[in-house]
Subunit: 456 residues, 2 copies
């Protein structure tokens, strides 16, 4: 079968686009998700054009071989993990920023372009591509689109999907569709753009994207506040969101703060139950007013220490605490990174549930994340060599998902379902909505060649 696939592909692709070296295949087997299963691909294709992507899908359809698209492989849900015998379709060679239209405030890019490259191309024209997943320096736009990636700035500027005007997509049947366009508003037909964004390569392969650019925001003022209780921090978050428009609002719990302090000491209060980092990029006096409102909200909620700075370097230093959160927890052992979302009013309950779960399963859980969006990353830390600890960690991970659902939340705010959380999707969606997913998947990919076994 593998030979048939390779032979068929070799007839339609240039030699450069076709890779069968087992070491390279092995390296394209996984994304960054722990636990998620993966198989050995039969071949890696690296198309250089939309027509090569189309040719790959033609072969996949003829031979009924699954196709797993991937960008940088930095995903956190196993969405890009290979399926045994599949074609892995890397979009890294389609990495050009095709156009930056300064006056039209848009960029046209290929999926393999790094988020960082798009930001840089926009900046050259004095503009800004807002979406900033933590992986922005090494993840691709295609991966960002496939997962509808979030980040820190979405609390004010929205997620990846909010920055997409249009797409070119190759469908399972080989047709090439264009969705949306170059206008900010467009209601001519169904919102197909949003259907493909976040569909994790299960409905089509995105081969081009038209992205919305914005003016660069003014310099930000950064605020840090510590809280003696989790409830206090949660109250401050919903107060801040109800009264002002932070450009960033992040939370770290005590376990996370301690992990950061023990790895990169920066004088954080390891006795505090939680730490909030917030920013206003309103600029000037309005920025000061917003920061003032945020500080007042923190104080009302019982914060014992609030400080802010308009100095950019100092602001970056404070943000370092948040940026180190996950790597600092990784210093303490193997990690299972969760990605739950709850209505922002329920953050304290989520944090309390996570504490209970940690106690119950005798595991360490550090929680940090995008509090202003209610999107938190409880991270279970455990000893990889201890099988019992690993089992308890997995149970804790699962319990956190159930806790989020019980609070009216979601099992994934920004990382995606992939293969990691597929088993939990029915509990969130219910049978009718799940059935609708399958109807759509069946309509667009009747042979099931596009990333089967992921998401739905």
């Amino acid at each position: 079968m593998t030979d048939d696939v390779v032979q068929a592909l070799s007839k339609v692709l240039s030699a450069e686009s076709l890779v069968t070296d087992p070491d390279i295949l092995q390296a394209h087997r996984n994304d960054q998700a722990e636990w998620a299963p993966s198989g050995m691909p039969s071949v890696l294709v690296r198309p250089a054009s939309t027509s090569e992507v189309r040719a790959v899908l033609d072969v996949a359809r003829a031979l009924r071989v699954p196709v797993v698209a991937r960008g940088a492989g930095s995903g956190l849900s196993g969405g890009a993990n290979a399926i045994e015998g599949c074609i892995v379709l890397s979009l890294l060679r389609m990495n050009r920023v095709l156009e930056v239209d300064r006056r039209g405030m848009l960029a046209v890019v290929q999926p393999g372009a790094l988020n960082a490259a798009v930001k840089a191309a926009a900046a050259e024209q004095g503009l800004w591509y807002a979406p900033d997943p933590a992986s922005w320096e090494f993840s691709t736009i295609g991966g960002n689109l496939a997962t509808n990636a979030g980040g820190l700035c979405c609390v004010k500027y929205g997620v990846t999907g909010d920055a997409v005007l249009g797409l070119e997509v190759v469908l399972a049947d080989g047709s090439v569709v264009r969705t949306g366009g170059r206008t900010v508003k467009n209601v001519a037909g169904y919102d197909l753009t949003r259907l493909f964004v976040g569909s994790e390569g299960t409905l089509g392969i995105i081969t081009e994207a038209t992205l919305r650019l914005r003016p660069r925001p003014p310099k930000a003022t950064t605020l840090l506040a510590t809280f003696p209780t989790l409830v206090g921090a949660g109250t401050a978050v919903s107060d801040i969101m109800g009264t002002t428009r932070p450009s960033l609002l992040e939370l770290m719990d005590r376990t996370t703060v301690r992990a950061v302090e023990s790895w990169k000491p920066m004088g954080l209060d390891v006795g505090a139950a939680a730490l909030l980092l917030a920013r206003s990029d309103a600029g000037g006096a309005q920025g000061e007013e917003e920061i003032g409102l945020m500080a007042a909200a923190c104080e009302r909620a019982g914060s014992t220490f609030v400080m802010n700075t308009t100095d950019e370097a100092e602001g970056e230093l404070l943000m370092g605490a948040r940026r180190f959160a996950f790597p600092a927890l990784e210093q303490q052992g193997a990690t299972l990174l969760d990605d739950v979302g709850v209505p922002i009013s329920r953050i304290p309950e989520l944090l309390a549930a996570v504490e209970r779960i940690a106690e119950q399963h005798r595991v360490l859980i550090g929680t940090f994340g995008h509090a202003g969006d209610g999107n938190m990353h409880p991270t279970v830390v455990f000893d990889r060599d201890d099988l019992d600890a690993m089992t308890r960690a997995k149970q804790a991970f699962d319990d956190i998902l159930h806790a989020a659902l019980d609070l009216g939340g979601t099992i994934t705010g920004e990382h995606g379902v992939g293969s990691l959380k597929r088993g939990f999707l029915p509990a969130q969606l219910g049978p009718e909505t799940l059935h609708l997913h399958r109807t759509l998947k069946g309509a667009l990919d009747p042979l099931g060649i596009l990333n089967p076994g992921k998401l739905v």
Copy 2:
């Protein structure tokens, strides 16, 4: 057939939910779109609950009768126009604001609730429901969702779809699905919410919506600028959008300004080629700075008169000019209101094309609209009693659609395709993308009972 339908419906609906009075049926035959064809419904149903909606679809499926959903009937594309012999399904009785969660910053509403009622309920909790179509005082949330309605504030705060967290939808097969949820970020499954938003009742009937609320913005400063050339006004628009974040950016051309002045004289410069109205709601000094940037952009682009005011009453007075734009044009004759969108860099070209079209077809066209989004409403004014003028007006209307497409734009930015622009959709989408629309429609509504002949 009508008798069968009424009889079947009478078995599953309360008497109050079923209307057969011919005068009332006649009154539910059209929305506000001129030209769009309509048929006589066989019956009007006014369900009071999701289960009644479901019962109606069960009957429609069994008897293969089309169902046309409608709210206030204020649509501008014929999307809610009845089809001969159809069931018109009015959602006006399902008009409750079920919940406003102040700390969770969301509202749960039924589709028949007026946009104004949702705004009011949010305001009671110190919050803001942003979307503001011109019809906000009399259009329903359901209609806003069905068309993905725009408005004035979307230049900063997005369209209706950007304010929706989740939906309850009754599908053609009678199943009731829930999309999205109560969280701001959510990537658990396909973005079904956005698939239904803007689908004009062709994929399902929305029976509940969870809407995102925001903090109320600070008071706005309003700027007015006049320009001796259309190109100058267009240049100012893209300059303003590239450097700052207006909360409103509207344009009126000379014909529109003159129509307003002749109906409600307010001292506007009828010699100017175009007038811009802009707002900043950044507040305080930042608001002043933003207005300063906007004023500078206008002056650089050749504006001969720029003024601004922080006084709210005066700001509302200036906004009156824009609010009177369409009714003032309606004073001059029958109107054909277009709704095209172009990339903001191409606004001057669109305005020039509209001038050429007006000359060519010897019709009066007043153009106004949401310049900051590139979404303009060229409005053809003609004498309804003059058949030749009517034909020329229709030709001009069509040519404007083609002009927008030639500029990389869209045939509808916010009003929808409905039946009015259905013939133009293939030119915008192309055969593959149109086919994908039909695939989706066929998958969700295989019997074609939901608003057939609209949109796709």
